[in-house]
Symmetry: C2
Subunit: 172 residues, 2 copies
DNA sequence: AATAGTATCTAGTTCAGCTAGTTATATACG
DNA sequence: CGTATATAACTAGCTGAACTAGATACTATT
């Protein structure tokens, strides 16, 4: 999906990184926006290369995590995690079983339920598409000096609060 | 939409902000993830409060920007900006005209075309839902010391590069 | 044992994208 | 000038992925 802010700012932006050495508030927000756009684009690329939508990708990755951690997950868990109905989850699992990323098998303890297990090929595919990028991101994060890391996390935390304060007026 | 990383990390995360004073790489990435989740949630809230999807919101904001800048935009411009077909754009404009956010009127120079203009109520609505939040974000950004601002923007720029390097292997 | 609760699945709907094709206008060229 | 081609918006009909409602199978409670 195209990013909101980015789509809106492509025209009328003439002051990007006006002063690289001494960025002001606008420059910081612009950097955040550019980052966000890159991330959105990356997601689009991955979805495309794996031929699936965002929800499907989330489902696979969640299943993989749980599996690796030795947990047993069911469609209900996926539906909770993804915030979609159990009915839609059935459809989602159908798709991912058909594409060979997941398998269904009887739940070990609850005979009403089903266990969802990622296949080896799903694992390989996700690792190949995401692994190197995550590593690069981690390298950047770890290359920060203690002071820089503190500044960055504090900034992100304060931005999070700025966004979370909901003063959204409902007037429908 | 639910955020990818967040959805995946709610289980198995026991070390969040283990050391607030001295964050390491993992803490930085976690802060980034939390920020991303807050942002996604904020978008969901806004879409809900305005009863529209992301594309619609992007379209309105783009129309508003262009209008304020004195530019004249057409459905074709929207379709290019949003990366959707002209047919879908017709549908999108239908929705937004029906909801009273946009109006169609004859294009001043091209008689094949149509001019898209945001209504005053759209302006008020968007300003009310986004204005205060943007102001809070700007306050955070401007409160950074020059050094902090530099650290933050450098970090974001490097993260952007980490994401943009596309090593995505297409093997379909 | 009966009742209530929970998990999954099926059927059918909706919404927002898509493609293909239509009409009206604009532009380019012989 | 007139004809061919290009472009803008729209219409009709399709699809994918969400939804609700309801069926079925099993579990848990009392």
């Amino acid at each position: 999906m195209v990013d909101m802010e980015t789509a809106m700012s492509t025209e009328g932006a003439g002051y990007w990184y006006a002063d690289q050495e001494n960025p002001g508030g606008v420059d910081v927000l612009n950097a955040l926006r550019v980052y966000r756009a890159a991330e959105a684009e990356m997601r689009r690329r991955i979805r495309e290369s794996m031929n699936m939508n965002e929800t499907d990708l989330m489902a696979i990755r969640y299943a993989m995590r749980a599996h690796k951690a030795g947990h047993c997950i069911s469609p209900k868990d996926l539906s909770r995690m993804l915030n979609i109905s159990t009915a839609s989850t059935t459809g989602l699992i159908d798709r991912l079983v058909a594409s060979g990323h997941l398998i269904r098998r009887p739940h070990p303890t609850d005979r009403r339920s089903v266990e969802i297990v990622p296949t080896g090929s799903a694992d390989i595919e996700v690792r190949e598409t995401l692994g190197e990028m995550h590593q690069r991101m981690m390298e950047v994060a770890e290359s920060l000096s203690p002071e820089e890391a503190l500044h960055v996390t504090r900034f992100l935390q304060r931005m999070t609060s700025a966004i979370e304060k909901q003063d959204t007026h409902h007037h429908a």
